[in-house]
């Protein structure tokens, strides 16, 4: 099993704890997907000048071919939509073994039935009138960063938007309903605090063995659902802080999840400059703060939403930071090994 690390300056593959030579050196890699169903590795680039590109490899990265990037259709004349209908970034990429799903900035979800050779905009979501109320969260425009596919039924998909709440389809993308009930936004005016569309979900993941259990790292806290996103409950025991981006859930144990908390809002650094991982084993009632092997002085690493991952066994974890730190744990986070502190800024970390 390899570990794939997308960075601002290329894609790194880690095997047996060793960092291999980078692919796409110099190019920002916004997302990587090792797709076991197709034995294909996908890498999404966000070239500063020349746009978003998608490449795939059938030999683990030795050779690559460029395939199509999603394209937005022309905006209808007279549209009230202020969002440019132009691809800004490929932000999330998931596979159900047959279909590829891509979440993008400025808010479009795309699907491919031919391994990225062509893409279709999912109009059932794009054409929802509420989409015009989505907003940018850290970017100028809204984006879909999380695509959680139910392993029991690939037609059931939950996506999360920054900012625009969470949305769910049960018919493979034809129709969608918002599903952020119970989340609250403390940064909004009081009358909009519980507005589901106003929720800035930073990351949403589901448990493979119990897909009705989902975890969310939200802008102002952690939320959990045990009823397939029909309702959400805040998890207040998270510490040392409730702000963060990343969350990973154990693939077999829905009560075990990991977070990398930070000081909230504009500051966005580890609490007391000590890098820690927070883990719960009881569905969020209690947390352990894990710090063995992690820097405990002058650490200013921020861990973005796609930069924490757990492997299929649930025992091995990895996370990477904005300042190029990469850590690996083989014991569910009890202890960590530093693989590097000098990689380029890390955009995504995935086992495959």
């Amino acid at each position: 099993m390899g570990l794939y690390v997308g960075t601002k300056k290329g894609l790194f593959v880690i095997e047996d704890g060793r960092i291999g030579a980078p692919y796409f050196l110099g190019d920002p890699v916004s997302m990587v997907l090792p797709d076991p169903g197709e034995h294909t590795l996908y890498a999404a680039l966000n070239l500063g000048h020349f746009g978003v590109k998608l490449h795939r490899s059938a030999d683990g990265g030795k050779s690559w071919e460029e395939v199509a990037a999603p394209e937005y259709p022309p905006k209808p004349a007279g549209s009230a939509d202020k969002t440019p209908w132009k691809l800004v970034q490929l932000w999330s990429l998931e596979s159900d073994g047959k279909r590829l799903w891509a979440g993008t900035l400025p808010g479009g979800l795309f699907v491919s039935d031919d391994r990225g050779a062509s893409w279709q905009l999912v109009r059932g979501l794009w054409d929802r009138p509420e989409r015009l109320e989505w907003g940018g969260g850290g970017y100028d425009h809204p984006g879909i960063h999380s695509i959680a596919i139910d392993p029991r039924d690939a037609k059931r998909i939950t996506v999360a938007v920054s900012t625009g709440g969470a949305w769910q389809t049960r018919d493979g993308g034809a129709s969608w309903a918002i599903c952020a009930k119970g989340m609250y936004a403390e940064y909004m005016p009081p009358e909009q605090k519980f507005d589901q569309i106003a929720q800035d979900v930073h990351r949403l993941v589901l448990c493979a063995a119990r897909p009705e259990v989902m975890w969310v790292q939200h802008h102002n806290g952690v939320f959990r659902s045990t009823d397939d996103a029909k309702s959400w409950q805040e998890v207040t025991a998270i510490r040392p802080s409730k702000f963060g981006f990343a969350v990973a859930v154990h693939p077999k144990d829905a009560d075990t999840a990991w977070f990398v908390p930070a000081v909230k809002d504009e500051c966005r650094v580890p609490v007391d400059a000590k890098l820690v991982v927070a883990r719960t084993r009881d569905g969020g009632k209690t947390f352990q703060v894990l710090r063995k092997g992690l820097p405990q002085a002058h650490a200013y690493d921020l861990v973005y939403r796609h930069c924490l991952d757990v492997d299929a066994t649930g025992n091995t974890l990895a996370f990477g930071s904005t300042t190029g730190g990469l850590w690996l744990s083989g014991d569910q986070g009890d202890s960590w090994r530093c693989l590097s502190t000098q990689l380029p800024p890390i955009h995504c970390v995935r086992f495959g």
Binding site: G48, F50, K53, E66, W85, K86
Partner: protein
Amino acid sequence: MPRVVFTSNLQRHIRCAESSVAAGTVGAALAQVFAEQPQARGYVLDEQGHLRKHVVVFVDGRRVQDRERLSDPVGESSEVYVMQALTGG
């Protein structure tokens, strides 16, 4: 005939040879090049056919004005130079 030349920074990603075209506008000149080298289109233009935000095109040393319809005129002996902007790096 007008010539279309691409920055070497684009050549890092794709092969995009200099070519001579029979065209009266920037849009027509680029369209001819992309007919021969289709992969280059998405690196220079976005999906709406507009110049990418961080791409600039010069015609005989003048920066083109119409970045959407690409209607700037091209003369018989013009050089159309496609390069990356200093923004976006």
